[in-house]
């Protein structure tokens, strides 16, 4: 068993810059090994600018963290593509591609990259193709399971000897879907074009429940997330056996407390309202104890 590294995923919510400042201050002094930085959800969000991200990147690097720059998952306009091309020119940074556009841009620049969880890699052939184009690490789509990961790794190993790191989304609200529509603006009866960045008033998203009170989703701008927190804390030892990195996707600074349970491979009891269905080949909203 090798040591399981812990990554802090990109902040998926729109937080004020002062909140981001203190969050990354705390991350810098945590035992996380890797930190993903950057806006991956909505191209309109601009409370933190490129220079802010670069500043946090250098603070985190100074503390020995590997910094990865996350890119947008849904690029819809030429301006967004131009911005992507511009940022990817910085050869001192490692990027996480969350759309094939980023794979295209980074491979043209001969830059290595991480395949983010919003890219459709479901088999070893696809991973091999992307490895040949420069992928060094793969973050598995959140809907896949432990058995899928093991089968995919075996298939990849039979096809290709390029090194690959395996990262698993292990804690946080799961990013489940991306839309043209901003559901947060819709909730406030605002047009997306005049949204006033209303999602900043929901720093942990908008909770959505069924009419009989079951937590279903968290609305986060154009992104729909799981209604409950996905948490593989009871599977940390298994994870360490088959993956290299566990990703924590924080919605509050207290989530940093989970780092130790993953890095220490300590199977920690899972809070009753946290879920782990996907890992066990169940519906994502299920948990293995309940078998919904």
């Amino acid at each position: 068993m090798s040591k399981l590294k812990v990554a802090i995923g990109p902040v998926l919510f729109l937080w004020q810059k002062s909140v981001m400042d203190s969050f990354y201050e705390q991350v810098a002094h945590s035992s996380a090994d890797i930190v993903y930085l950057g806006e991956s959800v909505c191209g309109k969000r601009r409370l933190s600018r490129q220079e802010d991200y670069l500043r946090w990147a250098s603070q985190l690097s100074e503390q020995g963290k590997q910094v990865v720059c996350s890119t947008l998952a849904l690029l819809e306009s030429p301006a967004q593509v131009s911005a992507l091309k511009k940022v990817c020119r910085d050869t001192s940074l490692l990027f996480e591609a969350n759309d094939l556009a980023a794979v295209q841009v980074l491979s043209e620049l001969n830059q290595p990259f991480v395949i983010g969880p919003a890219i459709n890699v479901y088999n070893g052939y696809t991973l091999m193709k992307l490895a040949k184009m420069g992928a060094k690490r793969w973050v598995m789509p959140v809907e896949l399971s432990q058995t899928w990961l093991m089968a995919l790794k075996a298939e990849y190993a039979s096809l290709c000897d390029l090194p690959m790191e395996y990262e698993v989304f292990s804690y946080g609200y799961l990013p489940l879907a991306y839309s043209a529509r901003c559901f947060t603006a819709r909730h406030h009866d605002l047009a997306k074009d005049a949204c006033d960045l209303i999602c900043q008033s929901h720093p942990q998203g908008l909770k959505t429940q069924s009419q009989d009170g079951k937590a279903l989703f968290v609305l986060n701008g154009i992104q729909t997330m799981s209604g409950q927190i996905y948490n593989l804390c009871e599977e940390a030892a298994q994870l360490a056996d088959i993956a290299d990195i566990a990703r924590i996707s924080a919605h509050q600074s207290e989530d940093m407390d989970w780092i130790e349970s993953f890095s220490g491979h300590r199977n920690t009891p899972r809070p009753a309202n946290h879920i782990n269905g996907y890992w066990h080949d169940l519906a994502g909203m299920a948990s293995d104890a309940l078998k919904l």
């Binding site: 849904l74 690029l75 819809e76 306009s77 030429p78 593509v81 091309k85 759309d99 094939l100 556009a101 980023a102 794979v103 295209q104 841009v105 459709n120 890699v121 479901y122 088999n123 052939y125 696809t126 193709k129 789509p141 809907e143 896949l144 899928w148 089968a151 298939e155 799961l174 489940l176 879907a177 991306y178 839309s179 043209a180 529509r181 901003c182 559901f183 603006a185 819709r186 909730h187 047009a191 997306k192 074009d193 908008l206 959505t208 429940q209 069924s210 009419q211 009170g213 079951k214 279903l216 989703f217 609305l219 729909t224 799981s226 996907y278 080949d281 519906a283 994502g284 909203m285 919904l292």
Partner: protein
């Protein structure tokens, strides 16, 4: 501009062609296609018959092999592609990079269209699929506005295909796991969304509840029309409001955009609905054939005929239609 119509079986395919489809798209009856519904789709003998019927009528047949191969099961996807090619289909609609790579390497002459499940929304992603796999056409997800489609059409040399009518998927297709979140089965992994085997209807007094894997998607009063519990079209509680938090049950209808789509040189307009009846396919195809022909004759004078909209609205989810994301205000 091609009119591309859906068929879940041979009777629908014949209706589509009789009523003016230029091409028909189908899937095989297994999980290699993203509309893997019980009792629907084509076995090999039916595929052969479909290709023969299309070609006798000088129309084209497209086959969707557009789910993502599971690890160690690629031979099943390969067999599906080989079967379609052996039967002389005109185009394969593919999403998985593994499948695209196989076609580019082993069948470089085969016309390949990039499925909407590949979720391509920008010029760099198009470049990726064009350069790596020589795809001839890209089917765009229903998330772009008409302005964004216009910008893409100007920039790319690839053919563009757009969804024109039918159920409205509001997420970037191929990147939506809501169905597996609730049921364990998604379009990417199982070729299904909100699968019927998880649907349960419960009548209590005058209230009809629609559940998906036990989750209450909507609750209908006696005066309301109950719709299929597609999970993104339910009524949920957000803060203190109860409403269709993601989308109303409504259908996409882009008849009004036909002149613009002709001007943009869009290669194909696609009608959604492989799961619908032959009668549905016949009626929708007929309206769209008339509308496209009318716009081609007099693009500047084109007007949507009221009876076209009446026919289409009657066939739509909740009898409502929308321009969807093509119209910026929808977002």
């Amino acid at each position: 501009m091609e009119l591309l119509c859906p068929a879940g079986n041979l009777p629908s395919l014949r209706k589509a062609i009789e009523h003016g489809a230029d091409a028909v798209y189908i899937g095989l009856n297994n999980d290699t296609n993203a509309r893997h519904f019980k009792g629907l789709n084509f076995n090999e003998a039916q595929l052969r018959e479909a290709a023969a019927f299309c070609h006798q009528n000088n129309r084209k047949l497209h086959v969707a092999i557009n789910t993502f191969a599971h690890p160690k099961q690629f031979p099943r996807w390969k067999r599906a592609m080989d079967q379609a090619i052996d039967n002389g289909v005109d185009a394969l609609i593919v999403a998985d990079i593994a499948a695209l790579d196989y076609l580019a390497t082993h069948h470089p002459e085969q016309e390949v269209h990039l499925s909407v499940q590949a979720s391509v929304t920008n010029s760099s992603a198009i470049d990726f699929y064009q350069q790596q796999f020589n795809v001839k056409r890209v089917v765009l997800p229903r998330v772009l506005s008409i302005q964004q489609v216009r910008q893409l059409a100007r920039k790319t040399t690839v053919e563009l295909e757009l969804f024109a009518f039918g159920s409205l998927c509001i997420m970037a297709e191929g990147r939506c796991y809501l169905s597996s979140y609730m049921t364990g089965e998604s379009p990417n992994t199982a070729g299904v969304c909100s699968p019927a085997k998880f649907v349960r209807w419960e009548q209590k007094d005058k209230i009809l509840d629609a559940r998906l894997n036990g989750v209450l998607i909507d609750s209908f009063g006696p005066d309301e029309q109950a719709g299929y519990p597609t999970l993104c079209k339910g009524r949920f509680d957000v803060a203190d409001q109860r409403y269709h938090a993601l989308e109303e049950p409504t259908s996409l209808n882009t008849l009004a955009l036909i002149p613009e789509l002709l001007n943009l040189n869009i290669a194909s307009v696609k009608i959604e609905g492989r799961q619908r009846s032959p009668a549905y396919v016949a009626q929708v195809t007929k309206v769209w054939r008339q509308a496209i022909d009318s716009a081609k004759r007099e693009c500047d004078q084109f007007e949507v005929q009221p009876h076209w909209n009446t026919t289409l609205a009657a066939l739509s989810e909740g009898q409502q239609t929308t321009l969807g994301a093509y119209h910026r205000k929808w977002k």
